[in-house]
Homo-oligomer: 457 residues x 2
């Protein structure tokens, strides 16, 4: 609600051209909030006017915060010198993030108005695969030399620090830009001014390769509580650093992607409210189609048992319950394992331990579900609702099926994600909908076969 | 694999009592890795011996990284002076995290051997609800006075900084510890040494209340790229700060919790491999039972239509496909909305926009699914498999049901999470399994009614 009110205020001030008042209003706002405000503006000219009124640095910071579509609209409306001004203020990693989402002609226009040194850096970073550490890094870090004293290090930081994304972790480099160690500003502050960096630096440095998967990068940040992580090339030369704020963004993006995949949605990188109907549809329909067609196999199993079903129609009533319980049991296992894999808590070598645990959990769950269900069928269906077709034998068929289904569901649910990861597929795809389709078919096969045996159909 | 090798090395060195070699091996390791190593040790005496060989500071840092169970075992084995030594090295927020997981008698023992000032602080923090900002904060921050100069500020940081969790954001306080502004070490380094803090501090400070929900805290960190966030009481007095590493941990925990709830599992705070079979079972069985019992309503719908089904047995074969597609459509919508709500991208005021978007997506999805399914039933079932029972009219019944089911599924899927949040329930519970159960019943009702009308059953 508050944001709406600020939006209204800003729009009123803009239309009444009370620009100095507007400036003082936004000066106290965070860039992220100004970005959200710009996204909420409907009229493009209004947004452009508002953007032009912002102080240069704040404008660039707010620009980073808005969605790709809005960035593109702004860039298209900018003059060449406006593009130069924004690019001057951007950190390299933010500039790369932006450029990665733009169409080729807009990228050409941006690079045309970018300072040649920065253009070169941007082009270098763009060469890394989009899911690699290289694509996340910035080249704006503080580099120190091994023989510097603490006082010299501070002078150097004071001289170059203003343009760096973080100054708190500094990188000590030897010949050929090889990474020798790190020294934090805290170390520097707590050391004697004449101390030499070689003596105080930490040589036991965590780093990643430029091509490392960004999921691994995020795991390192979470595990070691890092502020920044250096990125090195094959010769152990420092090529950039990844800062914690970008790691946090990637963490949330990866989580959203996993959740989407688990719900049979192709991942998007846009927030829901800013995704069009057609795009939402395109992300959802492929899996719906695939799963619908897969479900026809389950239908074929029912068709194959049609005559037996006709002989004991009461069995049909328990199909939904068996399918749902199987699906739920399987997805509990699969989702737990998928999450464990993506947090790095479960590895290939744990496979047998996982299966053995799931077997025991499945037996416990199956036994309780079967007992409750037997009681319910006898007491509610048979006694209370006078459904004479629900005999103890029918209840036994349903309950044995439950136990067997839960057993298979848990095993399928825990093994498929691990297998998927092992062969290089995304485990997140092996979640509820996929598992459910397999377990449905399994549970019906079990159901009809047990019914055939116990009820002599 | 590598970790296993280190574990074997460590265990060999321990059993051969080659302690100095062991010390030099672990000295280069990260605390998180030492913690993982200790968790992997099977024998408790071995773990204790290993812990006692670690240098004091590293021991405390590694202690923070191990799981609650292992911490408890260690504490029980510690002498009073060992507890004192560990507590001395711990940051307050880590100490509180640990204590929150311990049984009361262990907590009493820990507090008995804790320095009185720290004990008081721990007790103060323990009073905050476990999902509040207060419970996440540390009281170890750098506080500065408004009239200090930059040089004085540096002297103060040098004096007290070594024990602080972060020194990079410092808090400028006025009378009664009221928070006036913040100043970063970067600001201090780039300012003149004689400048006074009042002139360089940023008075436009983001902060949270002690009782703020930790999910909101995480959203603030992600949105504003914060290194630390001050926590204030009702009188705007600074009581603590939350650092980015704790925010990152909470972020991952909240994501895991949401994913578990979406898969009908009661949330745990332990990694899968360290959760016992009984505990895993206890987290999974309640929802399985509830959903199983709920699914019997779907069964009752089938029972009610038993006679009609007996007249047209072919209809039964399409029940699984209709139920699955309905469930998948609904969970796509619900999971997307739940994620949007938890990231703060979707609000109550967006309800109608969300419903309107889902309606359009549902119509598109339903139309495509129905068209593909009609083609498949006519070409595969009727022509190819010579199933004469699959008439165009039966196909029409199935396809109309598909469209209506997808429509209802998407609407139920998108509204239930928003409604849940509005009335103060957890939206994550309104995910696939719950939605599936509702949509199952809906789709069968639609199916049998449409069949009744079109096939004159």
């Amino acid at each position: 609600m508050e944001e709406m009110n600020i939006l209204e205020q800003v729009e009123t001030l803009l239309s009444e051209r009370r620009f100095s008042m507007l400036r003082s209003l936004v000066l106290d706002m965070e860039p992220a909030d100004i970005g959200a405000l710009m996204e909420d503006m409907d009229k493009e000219e209004q947004r452009l006017l508002f953007f032009r009124l912002l102080p240069k640095e704040l404008a660039a910071e707010a620009f980073v915060e808005v969605d790709g579509d809005v960035q593109e609209d702004l860039i298209r409306a900018f003059s060449g010198s406006e593009i130069s001004a924004v690019m001057d203020e951007l950190y390299v990693d933010d500039a790369v993030d932006m450029i990665e989402e733009m169409p080729a002609n807009v990228v050409r226009r941006i690079l045309k108005y970018t300072d040649p040194a920065m253009r070169q850096t941007i082009n270098d970073i763009l060469k890394y695969p989009s899911d690699s550490a290289g694509s996340l890094m910035t080249t704006e870090y503080v580099d120190l030399k091994e023989h510097m004293t603490v006082a010299q290090a501070f002078d150097h930081i004071r001289k170059i620090g203003v343009d760096k994304e973080t100054i708190y972790t500094c990188y000590v480099m030897g010949k050929d830009r090889k990474l020798l160690g790190i020294v934090t500003v805290k170390d520097l502050l707590l050391s004697d001014k004449e101390a030499v960096l070689t003596d105080i630096m930490d040589t036991n440095v965590l780093f990643v390769d430029t091509l490392e998967d960004k999921e691994v990068v995020v795991q390192q940040f979470a595990k070691y509580d890092l502020l920044a992580l250096p990125v090195v090339d094959k010769e152990h030369r420092l090529v950039g650093i990844i800062t914690f704020d970008d790691a946090m963004d990637v963490m949330q993006e990866e989580n959203t992607e996993d959740i989407e995949k688990m719900a049979a949605i192709l991942p998007t990188d846009k927030p829901y409210m800013r995704t069009g109907v057609l795009e939402t549809w395109r992300k959802r329909i492929p899996w719906l189609l695939f799963l619908m067609v897969s479900a026809t196999f389950t239908g074929m199993i029912i068709s194959g048992f049609e005559q037996k079903l006709a002989a004991s129609v009461v069995l049909t009533a328990f199909i939904p319950m068996l399918m749902d319980t199987g699906g739920n049991s399987g997805s509990q296992a699969s989702v737990t394992i998928i999450r464990g894999l993506s947090l790095g808590e479960i590895e290939w070598s744990d496979t047998f331990a996982v299966i053995w645990k799931e077997i025991r959990v499945a037996v416990l769950c199956g036994a309780v579900l079967a007992a409750v269900n037997f009681g319910k069928m006898m007491l509610v269906d048979n006694l209370l609702l006078h459904n004479a077709a629900v005999t103890p034998m029918v209840a036994a068929v349903v309950c044995v099926t439950l136990v067997v289904t839960v057993f298979f569901a848990k095993i399928v649910g825990c093994t498929l994600p691990i297998l998927a990861k092992q062969v290089g597929l995304d485990p997140a795809v092996m979640a509820s909908p996929f598992i459910t389709t397999i377990v449905d078919a399994l549970s019906l096969l079990v159901y009809f076969n047990i019914a055939g045996i116990l009820l002599h159909l």
